[in-house]
């Protein structure tokens, strides 16, 4: 199949949703079924840029808003999976977006506890119960460890990176590479470490963490199924990252990767190349597991002032483009988020296959984005966090009108917020959704 045919097949699959056992998902009413199919078709038309949708689709991409809005703390949403799913359902039924990304944002609190996760602070573990989890930046990969990463990324992750970010996975440091297991003579030596108490403690933690993750995933899956049966599709398939962000966010850290650009640029470039197929595989694998085509790619360190134009073209864009092309080749729809300002990058990033991607736009000028990137790609956005939080419904409506008149012209646009948000005035979120459904009808 060509990439076109694969994408089309993905949408056809979405149009006839299945239960985990393979039977057709029963809709709760004919109206729910009609809404579900209309939403998928609307989003498909917006993304493919082949025909104008019936109206501008609406999405809402929150982080903790559905839970705080339901009167829960973030801590409660992380530890009580059923209440988390219930709050999310209430959120969807209240604001009725055409597309959502599921209730998975809080994640399973107990799972992080079992593994003694160090990379983030979360409610009760370094941040207040009512606040969102936040990353603890650090050099979890050292400047001199590029060769280790290049030689065998999985070995580096298991033996070095994971024990640094999970307190409970210290035992991994004692394990030999799996690639030493070759023939009968000597094979047993490879297994001796599994008898050691720290390694066994690590495996015990893994079994417990796995069970907890599954428990949570069952609730999340049930939530997605129920919402689909009510007419609200989640088409998010999973996530991957731009290779530069993979290394810069949680391996070397912001400062670390900056130093590497000056002090060891060749090693950094080699590592970016080396992890590119891994990032493609991560997206394709997630899409296969969930059956959904959209692969979210949060873009961080390529924003306007974070890199010079030359650095962007050298370090950031080539491997990000390869990741997107690899996903497209596999029938997926890359869903990058331009976090912050990306105005200076538009001319570079517009160079992508037409009708195969959808971009969440935060603070970049939407008119300029439409004139460049928008020629080849669907745009989502860009109602700001400050407006949703501090503005009035009239402010929101006026801004949405402007967006529909400009970015929405001729299709290729999905109304939504620009950045993930925890707090907002509900009436502003409602105004964004309701106004778009009314004013955003294409004639």
């Amino acid at each position: 199949m060509t990439a076109d045919e694969k994408q089309e097949a993905q949408f056809q699959k979405l149009l006839s949703p299945k239960l985990p056992d393979g039977k057709d998902l029963p809709f709760q009413s004919p109206e729910a079924e009609a809404n579900y199919k209309a939403a998928i078709t609307r989003i498909k038309d917006a993304i493919q840029l082949k025909k104008t949708p019936d109206r501008v689709p609406v999405t809402i991409l929150p982080s903790m808003f559905p839970f705080t809005h339901a009167g829960m703390t973030v801590q409660e949403a992380m530890y009580d999976y059923d209440r988390c799913a219930l709050a999310f359902k209430k959120f969807i039924l209240e604001f009725k977006p055409d597309m959502h990304i599921g209730a998975a944002a809080p994640g399973p609190g107990k799972f992080f506890e079992i593994l003694d996760y160090k990379l983030y602070s979360w409610p009760g573990h370094g941040v207040a119960p009512e606040h969102s989890y936040q990353c603890n930046e650090g050099e979890y990969m050292k400047a001199e460890e590029y060769d280790l990463l290049l030689m065998d990324p999985s070995f580096f992750f298991r033996n070095f990176y994971l024990p640094r970010v999970f307190g409970a996975l210290q035992g991994f440091q004692m394990l030999p590479p799996l690639t030493g297991i070759l023939e009968m003579y000597g094979v047993a030596f490879n297994f001796i470490p599994y008898a050691l108490p720290p390694v066994q403690a690590t495996y015990k933690a893994l079994f417990e963490a796995g069970a907890e993750a599954l428990k949570w995933a069952m609730v999340m899956g049930g939530s997605n199924g129920e919402l689909a049966s009510l007419g609200f599709p989640n088409i998010l398939g999973g996530f991957t990252k731009a290779p530069f962000d993979t290394i810069g966010d949680t391996l070397r850290g912001t400062k670390g990767i900056i130093m590497d650009m000056y002090r060891q640029p060749d090693k950094l470039l080699q590592a970016l190349e080396a992890i590119t197929p891994i990032m493609i595989g991560m997206g394709l694998g997630a899409a296969q597991q969930t059956g959904n085509p959209l692969i979210f790619i949060p873009l961080h360190k390529g924003a306007d002032s974070f890199l010079s134009d030359a650095q962007f073209k050298k370090f950031y864009w080539p491997t990000l483009k390869q990741v997107m092309l690899g996903l497209i080749e596999g029938g997926c729809i890359p869903f990058p988020a331009l976090e912050g300002h990306w105005g200076s990058r538009l001319k570079v990033i517009q160079d992508i296959p037409k009708g195969k991607t959808v971009w969440m736009v935060d603070q970049t000028d939407m008119v300029k984005a439409k004139e460049t990137l928008g020629k080849n790609a669907c745009l989502i956005g860009n109602v700001s966090s400050s407006m949703l939080n501090l503005g009035t419904p009239d402010d929101v409506k006026a801004y949405c009108k402007k967006l529909i008149d400009t970015a929405g012209k001729g299709g290729g646009f999905i109304m939504g917020n620009g950045a993930f948000f925890d707090e907002a005035k509900p009436e502003n979120v409602k105004a964004m959704s309701d106004f778009t459904k009314e004013y955003g009808v294409y004639k």
Partner: protein, 209 residues
């Protein structure tokens, strides 16, 4: 000698700059003069950043070079460095928010540009800002925040400063990923900046002359 430390550092030539510092130290030069040249070099980096010739990586890299130079020069300092300061600025990431990268760059650029900076760190309770203003008599307070929760924390901090009767004593600037004029108005701050050099400009406008 005679190689130009100011411009070598401004051009981000790390090895060359460190070499010059070593030579000048070996020649017995006044360490304070070396530090002053290095500081002027980074000031040029800041200007180039404002002119969009340099970007965040250049700022961070220049900070790393400056840190190494300071480490080399420090043991040779006989008396504490008496640097003339433009004024005092308090900086911190507001309560509930633990992001520090942007805040750290602001602290660094304010310091290099001649301010005495009191860095209160991250997740700073409102009272700590109030106490520090009383303690230091700083004329400028910079509040940093990345998350939407920071909007309220900033407002609370400005409110606490006001309640303590200090609002007329200080100018308050805010900054961070989602900060715009609407947020500034909500929090009651005097100004917001989009980057570290904006913070320098604001502080200079208020207390730096």
């Amino acid at each position: 000698m005679a190689k130009d430390l100011v411009n070598t550092l401004a051009d981000l030539k790390e090895k060359e700059a460190l070499g010059i510092v070593q030579e000048r130290l070996s020649a017995g030069e006044d360490p304070l003069r070396i530090l002053d040249d290095a500081r002027r070099g980074v000031e040029i980096v800041g200007k180039r950043f404002s002119d969009e010739e340099y970007f965040i990586p250049d700022l961070v890299y220049s900070g790393e070079i400056l840190k190494q130079i300071t480490d080399m020069v420090k043991p040779k300092l006989t008396k504490a460095a008496e640097v003339k300061r433009l004024g005092k600025v308090i900086v911190g990431t507001v309560a509930g928010d633990i992001h520090d990268i942007g805040k750290d760059i602001v602290v660094f650029m304010l310091d290099v540009n001649g301010f005495e900076v009191f860095d209160l760190g991250i997740d700073v309770p409102v009272q700590k800002f109030v106490d520090k203003i009383k303690e230091t008599g700083s004329g400028v307070v910079g509040l940093s925040g990345f998350l939407t929760l920071a909007f309220q924390s900033m407002k609370d901090t400005v409110g606490a400063i006001e309640k303590a009767g200090l609002r007329n004593e200080v100018k308050i600037m805010i900054g961070g990923g989602q900060i715009d004029d609407q947020v500034r108005s909500f929090t009651g701050a005097d100004a917001y900046g989009k980057d570290a050099m904006d913070a320098v400009k604001l502080a200079k406008g208020w207390i730096g002359g």
